[in-house]
Symmetry: D2
């Protein structure tokens, strides 16, 4: 019998939809509120496919931030940055656990927030208690926080690929170059001509260079891993598929290395991680093997000709990159089996 | 009235098809032979869409290399590497002009050919006369050769993006990292399960790292441009669209630079090039603007935070990356207007 | 040297874009005005890919209907229905030739217009002079009108498939059932969540049954062909590709027929039509052979088991279904070679 | 604890893959053999994404038909027609339960099998015991058979849409016209140029008219439903998505009807069916709501203008059209909860 009442706030976007699907299948969770300003009053099943019949007839609610606390024990916020804080403040005041998928509580520094997001941080007083909720890096801290700040999709695919290399001092942090390819659901469900099928299909491009907003959290976490200030080049691309993300990283090695040695260090680093799949069978990470899961595939290759280590990862931007990882973080926070409801 | 008789050898592959389409619209060219072993005897129009009615009823011929020379004045070879040389040797003996789209005559060194292609070069004696036919780099040499070796799609998208930066000494050649994204027609028309719609759709991946075959010609030409030996990291990706290629390059700058200065140097370098479109309007290169054309879009961006220059290009892998560029090279070789038949 | 000055009104939608591309390649046409309310002031080349360099730097104008007449000799209206009439009225008053791609002047009956479009006809006085501009059916009338009403995409694919069967009395008009599949560019370039890539990709559905607006013109023209009142079942579907339309029709035969006899009657009916490609090689019409052209592929099959004639057609909904057919109609109206600028 | 040992024979095709995924999640089933001739010896996880870690390291076996019986209690055959019978015969001799996804045991008449499949039936003696396993039509018979013949994807989408109308005498069986649209996984995982991404993407077509093989089982079952011999027109189409099927049917009504009356009869007919979702909210069946499920969406619309009833259905061709429906049939046969392991 479910033990935890859950609200999904902003449930009609792509991450919100996926959260509703995942929560509905999680044995310890009970969906007690599904809110959406734009879809208020509509049956949930008419917007979100793949729900159990019991949920389909529920309607989206439009509940003001101040009135929300009583509706659940834990709250997933699948809202735009800036808006999430409006909900997090009263919910935290009411002592509720907030699992935020926006960028509002990922950065420790309100100054860097302002630099990258263009406006003052809406609730800087909450930054002290928030935890950057990449479970593979900050599992213990997640267990103790009530403000769980889920990483962005790009950062997830990048940080998990780089962590073992940086922690083991294999690469020069100043030489890191990151290229990522994202499916279009990552751009959200916005009525915008640039996101139309006929605009994106059979095309692709790089965008938001050289300073995509996710750089701020990427560099914050890389700096922690490397124990020094890290600045990287990051180039995101938009490609014509709905879900999926590939990240490819190169960096100069700091010493002579063999492929097997790198693989062995990665295997050791991720030995107990249920959602990290290290590819050592000669294939490289591929979207179709991770889509609709919480998996991240990671592979490493030495480029002996140039003295660079190449790192590859694949995730589902809505899975490990958003909703599934948020459920993983909730599992960690509430002491459930970490894989519960995530099909691994 | 057409003045030059043309054969397309290997016309049922994707590059061959595109060549047939382009030649059929070129006012100075007359298609006198269309060969294909696998489609021999079938009407050309049943395999290649978009042809003028006059060509649709022609059938593919299967003509042995030794018997081919009489059928045309100039010969496009759209054949696998290794096979192309079998045709080039007798055609050159007969004094014919060969425009080869395979990798057989792109490299100056038979040793590097063997290193990258895994077998001895099939006709090393022809390497002295062949010209690496990127018109923007080797226009004058193309005019004088009878063995025109058209560049690969990846190299085209890479070399034209890097040439002005290297020639002007803006970047450190040892720091070049290249990521490319290719549509699946680049993998050819092979009955291979890995190329099925249901295998590639809604997926993507990096492949052929760290030593894709195209690296050999990329480094040969970059070394010429930089006047020093250049070794680079190159990571190709397969993405789910039929036609198109995006290349993204980063390299350390050698001195303090401003965006406008770089744009101005690129503008000067490509001032007279009809097929190079420099994007200085704030957008980055995009496949949909170059597909089914001989255009390459190029943009530059300084990443001041990391001291890197970012270079972006977009081409159609079957257009500027293969068939259209081959027609451009033919125009150069035979003294036609360089844009003739190429819609620019 | 171009002889006719052309305006494309509403040039930033998908049909408008395609018209600009086609007009720019037509040897007798000169683009003197490109208007768009939503893109006014932007360079044409930033919105429409694939234009000659000479056009790319032009900017979209926003010209009021009353001020437009002086800007060109002939005017393509690529506007929503209802809006087109606002432009057509003053242009016709000024004696200009109007080639309208909207539904405003396709129907002879203002009552049926109101039934299907939900409001009074905006300019019923012009219906007397307008001609339903399917050249294969009304070529002579097109030559004499100054108000050319181009058919919709569905009607084009349906009427040309049915015309020979109805004219020859091969089928019972009361038994006609039509299924059509349209690429998503047919839904237009609207900022609507339902048209996003992530909503349409990997999905499909029927829609607008049982009374899609195009039924009105389909039945008007079928009734003329059959010389009796014809009512049909028409079911459109939305499928995940950008451009292309497949129509499949079945109807009871009125007498015993053989496949060859039907093919021969179709061949005779379309003997002189440059854009009708009858498939008699065993294949059925296919989008990839007609996309980006003004072709319509048509095939016929008898279903002896059920006594039905099956009819198949393929067009590009933006080509023969919209912009290219509009240029064909202009060629007819102004006495140019009918294939001029249309690559056939 | 799982109670039934399961073999999936032919597990590397698309239906076989999906079966492995579904069986691995079913609480009462234990996978004891996964066979594939083409992938024999390879790890299952390298071919089939999305498996539990416990299964990924298993390898595909290649077990001869005669040696298979000991490996499991029940056997899913995901094999080409003709081949399935080679396995079914010895398995049935050994007293095992066979759940066949091929066409080999769907038809009651070996003569009709020969007419549609072009060769003698390979095991006509087994036709007496086999049951056409559409649970919504033949649930009781499935419970009692050891040779479960799962319907094809087209027939599933067609028969469930038509059954209530035929059973209630709403339509004239002689007037039925069926159009279906299938995603390309329905064509199987064959190394065939016609199935390449670059061949199918951005195209579509009708095919296999007028006598697709599935017509044989469609008409067999429609005749049973109508209690008279039924012959129909059926036109399948191939469209560019991986998974999904839309069927659209029209037929003359036999009497005056209202939309609500038809909906009410359908609701009554399918009142207890867990996998039939009747759409009465104004929308029509849509692939994205049924993909990766065992659901069929069905909607009805009267076309008052033509006196036809329009029927619409959507399934996943690999779900309700193949693997998921096979698991549903197994659940029925072995007395498990019918929705077990199927996520409804």
């Amino acid at each position: 019998m479910p033990t935890l009442r859950i609200a999904v706030v902003g449930a009609s976007g792509y991450s919100g939809e996926e959260l509703v699907r995942l929560v509905s299948r999680h044995p310890e969770l009970q969906l007690t509120a599904i809110t959406s300003r734009s879809s208020a009053g509509r049956p949930v099943g008419s917007v979100i496919p793949g729900l159990p019949a019991s949920l389909e007839k529920l309607t989206f609610a439009d509940i003001a931030p101040a009135d929300l606390a009583g509706h659940a024990d834990a709250f997933f916020l699948a809202l735009p940055h800036g808006v999430a804080a409006e909900y997090a403040v009263p919910l935290r005041k009411a002592g509720k656990v907030v699992i935020d998928l926006s960028a509002d509580f990922r950065l420790k520094s309100p100054e860097i927030y302002k630099e990258f997001y263009g406006h003052d941080h809406p609730a800087p007083e909450l930054l002290k208690e928030s935890v950057y909720a990449l479970p593979e890096l900050h599992r213990d801290a997640i267990k103790k926080t009530d403000l769980v700040a889920c990483p962005g999709c790009y950062p997830t695919s990048i940080l998990l690929a780089l962590a073992p290399a940086l922690k083991n001092g294999l690469i020069d942090p100043g030489s890191i170059v990151i290229n990522s390819l994202s499916g279009v659901s990552g751009a959200g469900k916005k009525a915008d001509v640039s996101l139309l099928f006929a605009e994106l299909n059979e095309s692709m491009k790089a965008y938001s260079v050289p300073k995509h907003r996710h750089l701020s959290e990427i560099e914050q976490e890389l700096s922690l891993l490397a124990a020094q200030n890290v600045v990287v080049t990051f180039i995101p691309h938009l490609v014509p598929l709905t879900r999926g993300m590939i990240t490819t990283i190169s960096a100069k090695v700091t010493r002579s290395l063999a492929d097997k040695e790198v693989e062995s260090l990665y295997a050791k680093y991720y030995a107990d991680e249920p959602f990290v799949a290290l590819k050592t069978d000669g294939t490289l990470p591929e979207v179709k093997r991770v889509v609709r899961s919480n998996l991240i595939e990671i592979a490493t290759r030495l480029d002996a000709r140039t003295g660079r280590l190449l790192l590859f990862s694949a995730i589902d931007n809505l899975g490990k990159g958003a909703a599934a990882q948020a459920v993983q973080a909730l599992n960690v926070r509430f002491g459930f089996e970490e894989t519960m409801g995530l099909g691994a």
